[in-house]
Symmetry: D3
């Protein structure tokens, strides 16, 4: 799938595609927006529809399990009869992605109480947009961020939270349940990688344990996610594969010989433990995923690679 | 509480007491056995009962919240009318501690299935004695050890497991729930720091989340603990304090300024999530803690500092 | 917000608006129908569209947190290009509200078993319409009504039930769980003040405890509610505020000095404890709230004050 | 309702209707397809619309509680202005029923893991189509079939499974919970007789206990059902009656005198215990039943007998 | 059972017995202490053992379902060979009852957190002794008391709490669940009327709903009870009868004609929802009731009326 | 283990031992009583202590996993210094077994409500003694007996119930949950094969599903068992093996070729689902098993084969 597949494509396009493939460009929202931008760029160079469809397939194959990328590419190509329409679709997708994060923040901020304390996991830009909007609305509150082993994205999260002027706390992942009992936690806000048609949420490893512990303690769990993270494929039965990443992320090479290290990146949280999914289309029950997919991604005419 | 308190005490005694105080000697079982050994040593030097009681108080104060140490010292001094009887009590305590771990291993190994897979957390010598006894009984099985942030004692555990020839696996703490769903886990074996009179188990941070996830999946949770980890004080209402350790164990100094780091060492697992406590006195329901305490530590004549 | 805001408005209109504001006219269904009637009246007096919109805003402000009133006003004004169309919309709304209660009764009555016993809380006309329809269908059954402190609306409920010839029982609120165990209760029927987009039901204080106890005992819980009680605003994140009412409703003045009295009027029942919501649009799962809102109140063209 | 009602109807038609009435033709899917075929046959003989509607009523009355039959007849007659259109509707229904089972198999097979073990209950052709599709996709796995007293349809199921080359197991109904704990069961696949608008699933007696036990053990439960098993009538409150069948199916005549034998054929599984319903329209949460019914059976124009 | 039964008994004795029978003397602890005092009085008048046993039977019959009274009388008469020994037993019982409440306070106060908020129900002197001991220990905290319909004993409770200088709050019974979600409640403290051998707690109506709601929210529930509230009779199968009191306590006479009013005084809380029972013998799991009864009331020699 | 092992033993003894081995004599209570009777017989023939101990070992080996037999033999031999004392112990054991069933009946009958309905599973003489005692106490009630595949012992149960004049019902095993919802079931009474030290109950396959369904519906579950069914060995870790019986009990030979039939006889019910164990020693929580074993079978001096 390396460089040679880009023969005839302008450099700006293939640079984006390669960036996504090599994960220099990453994050579910970013790769969605960037792939739309790549198609718009290409349409601007005079590429015809066939070439744009070929570009769609190329982009899709850079990360074949990333639903946000697939939704982005489909949004650009579905129903487009001219390169100009592809460009317009791409513009619309990019605009709605930006607006989407803003709306998620605004909707979610309504659930933040002045003086409350919240937990977040990993480093979700959608969840952070909620905290930002709440700060902008003049609320004062505390957020506990989990370390999120093995990558420790919690360190990024606490820096961003502290910069917003929020009372920021850092804990190891396994302390979540204890902290819930001690610290008057009022809610959990997490992001999502993929949302399945039956309301199951695929997100960073540890999300399901955090949600389980919150459920046990009657603490609401909010998943913050743009609609392009909902997977139309799961409607057709597809089971989201849980990627295993290199063990070097977990241990030093040779640190524990004769030991099998497992490094699953995601886990699956059942809808039972989710109070609502906050999307730019509205605050919905997780079981509303089927409705949302049918409403916004439905129809047989959807472009697929 | 530093050196000067040991005036008049032989060096061998004060070395042990100081080792416990500075945590060079640590681990609930080890400090219990060592403090008994210190009293036996002292009795052997011709110390009288008053001095031995004073020694008991000194030892007790090295780690005033460690129930195993308190139970050990009490066992040596309760009912002893002569230094010789203190020494005999100490011998008996030490012997039963050694025998205790052996019995826990034997009792627990009955719950290991040939071909099964198990999870353990942190580095519990009592839990490991179960796995060892099962290996010695000719069973073949797999054990998943959690990393156990912040100290990563899981690294020690996997080395010990691998040396026993057990199929050994290593995961981050937050992956436990996912692994339970994927890997046909047949049971969870953990240790305990303190067991309360109502069956609540205080153990390494993360134990309660692991037990919760196991309960959710109908997987039995076994707590492996010598009887000297049961706390008679909790019968009188004492709430076991959850120690907070230095934040430098969690982050590098200055890594995240303006952030409050919490580092609780233990958490509390309710009896609902525990299938049985495996002690050298037998396999008991967690609610049997009251009975066990009354039976083995009961009576008003118990020596207290 | 007093009288002067009604300058230029006919007395019949301002009388209704004031009646709603002062809570002489109350009950979620009644204020909805009355506000539609007020707009129809106004349209009949030759008011133009601008004045009707101003009237809508005035009505809306009489009870700014009452979703049924907002839905009524919106229904009348959305898409209306002439005063005549406002009047027609109002007629349609009023008609469907009347028909709605009738349909809820008919649908709900299917869930009443001959010889069964049921619990209701507070004084919900929608729930009572179910019992009425079941009586009309020739079924014989018992209903237990809770007192519903502090207002004791249960006294009204039992009078209405007894008049229907139903076997009527009265209990204090806290006896519900005990009665469920003793009396072979076959279902719980309650009303709703507001239904949120994620299926949470806001209703009279105590509803959530009753629903929890029913769930514990595997007894179905039915919420009876016209579609105008579903809140489109919650789709945009709005958290329904739980009104605190005067403490004089709970205690006599001076009865308990130095004591803070809390008097929350409503509470929130999670969708987990609700078997179905019985609306005039059909019997739906609580998670169907999102779908129902999109289907019947969706669209950006909705009139808002 | 015997023969004389068929005066004027061709023999081919009345043979099918009578076959359905006497239960020689049975199974939710088969009676649906056969009744559509009967209407098509009739349309081919020159019957006019009135006669076709009368035929619809006759068919409907052969099994007045069978929702699949009602949905089939409605599908053929709704919106048909000519006998030719009835025939076309019937063709379309039959085609989609065949295609439906195929799609359910394909969608469901994605949830079968290579090397996994599964449980099924009774003899559901939709559930079996999932196992068949998984075998065709090259997966190897085991299936445990319950005996399904009183009719012991499990015997048919194991024969069909064994013929597919699947590792096939047979257990009595009450052993399901024990087997889940012992045999690393990865999922439960069952069929459905009727699916209610609030996500409750009516299926063979025992389904709800099996689903409860799976839920207790965090094992996913999949209901496999064509969309024609969803009941639009339940939207209007109808409670699906649980048929009681002759006691001779359970005991020999006179085997236990003075004993009341109960033989309920179906039970009701709440949506809480169902992970997803696999339909030919997609994999949906059980709460999506409302949406699916509105989307595919909605509208007031639906033909009813 | 009126006056004539007291022929030959001194007035001081019969005054107490009658006071208990007419409920002028009431409360589980008070009637226990008073009946012991009556026996002591009688022994002081020169009554012989036969007369004392007859007195025991008389006392027992004043409130035949009150276990505290029965335990008191048994404690005085069991093993007593002389009137003097009855008097000594009575003294010992009275002393231990006073000391018992003090110890319960001290043990329970350990579970009160500085700055925490707690809920209590009805008017339990044992629960109040916990709050008092915590105040005396210098802790500052809030307590929410429920109204406790129909008698509204919560009004007494809030006066006592306010006098202690505790932050005191008053809510209607059905608001408990809502308040738990809003007010960072850290624990529930209630009393008990009777504790059964399998850990079930019989207490004021509403206790079981409060405990259920606390369990749902992972809030610990502590039952405060002297050991004389444990029922040895339940060990022999006795089911504690739930007394129904006059309906005039619930409604005004004639307030709701044709309505059956139920007024159960107590309900039964299962051990699952109780974190611990705080007795003067120690803090025990509810399942420890069997052990406690055997240890302190066991033996066949127990005096019974 | 056949005949030759009985060389030198009188025929009456070896006939009983062989009857137990070949399962002509069966049922946990019966084999206990018969083995005590065999030892008494042997003691009466002039056998010495060595021979009696050898006889104990022979008896024990006839059914090495039957705890009731082991407890019986141990009871006869523990502490016996002469053959006469063995005979006396045997007499005492037999007497207490007979008295035990009577007491269980009496204690359990207190939990039967006049007019109530109950479920039982399999054919437990201890559970039936409860129903008998309740009938004798003049109560009228209904009992639903499950078929209990594969042996259908429910047929025996319904005959015995009908003979007592109880309203008797028969259902297939998988209908239990449905019946609980329909029939106002007030309790479940089952027997036990073995009770483990942590409160787990081993009983006929299906017991755990029945108990789970009862727990879901807040229906109390009572296990009726003599104390000789409590297993001291489980205190030492022993996991009760779940016997697999011949598949011919489940299917006809050759009925389903290429199918693996599983026929587990017992399953394990966790203590969470058991309200109380009714023993002749009293009504105890399942977690009281540890206490009961220590109290009645404790001590190191217990005779073991």
């Amino acid at each position: 799938m390396s460089g040679s597949g880009y023969d005839g494509f302008p450099h700006e396009f293939s640079a984006i595609a390669e960036g996504i493939r090599t994960m220099e460009i990453r994050g579910a929202a970013l790769i969605a927006v960037e792939s739309a931008r790549a198609l718009k760029l290409l349409a601007g160079t005079g590429a015809d529809l066939d070439m744009l469809e070929e570009a769609g397939r190329l982009l899709f194959n850079t990360r074949p399990t990333a639903i946000s990328l697939e939704n982005a590419v489909s949004s650009c190509l579905t129903g487009a009869g001219t390169p100009q329409e592809v460009a317009e679709n791409a513009d619309r997708f990019i605009g709605s992605a930006i607006e989407g994060k803003h709306l998620i923040g605004r909707y979610g901020a309504e659930r933040i109480e002045d003086g409350g304390a919240y937990i977040t996991h990993c480093n979700s830009s959608a969840a952070l947009s909620v905290f930002k909007a709440a700060v902008d609305a003049g609320k004062r509150f505390d957020v506990f961020a989990t370390e999120t082993r093995p990558w420790r994205q919690g360190l990024i999260t606490v820096r961003e939270l502290a910069e917003m002027g929020i009372g920021t706390h850092f804990i190891v992942d396994s302390a979540s349940r204890h902290i819930m009992g001690e610290m008057n936690i009022k809610g959990v806000f997490v992001g999502a990688d993929t949302i399945c048609s039956n309301g199951v949420v695929i997100n960073k490893i540890g999300t399901s344990m955090l949600a389980l512990a919150a459920h046990e303690a009657r603490i609401p769990v909010y998943v913050c996610a743009e609609s392009f993270k909902f997977s139309p494929e799961t409607l057709h039965g597809k089971l989201v594969p849980i990627e295993e990443r290199p063990i070097s992320e977990v241990i030093e090479p040779g640190e524990v010989p004769d030991v099998t290290v497992h490094n699953p990146v995601f886990d699956a949280t059942p809808s039972d433990y989710i109070s609502a999914i906050i999307t730019e289309k509205g605050v919905i029950p997780p079981e509303g995923a089927y409705d949302l997919i049918m409403r916004f991604f439905g129809g047989d005419e959807r472009w697929t690679p």
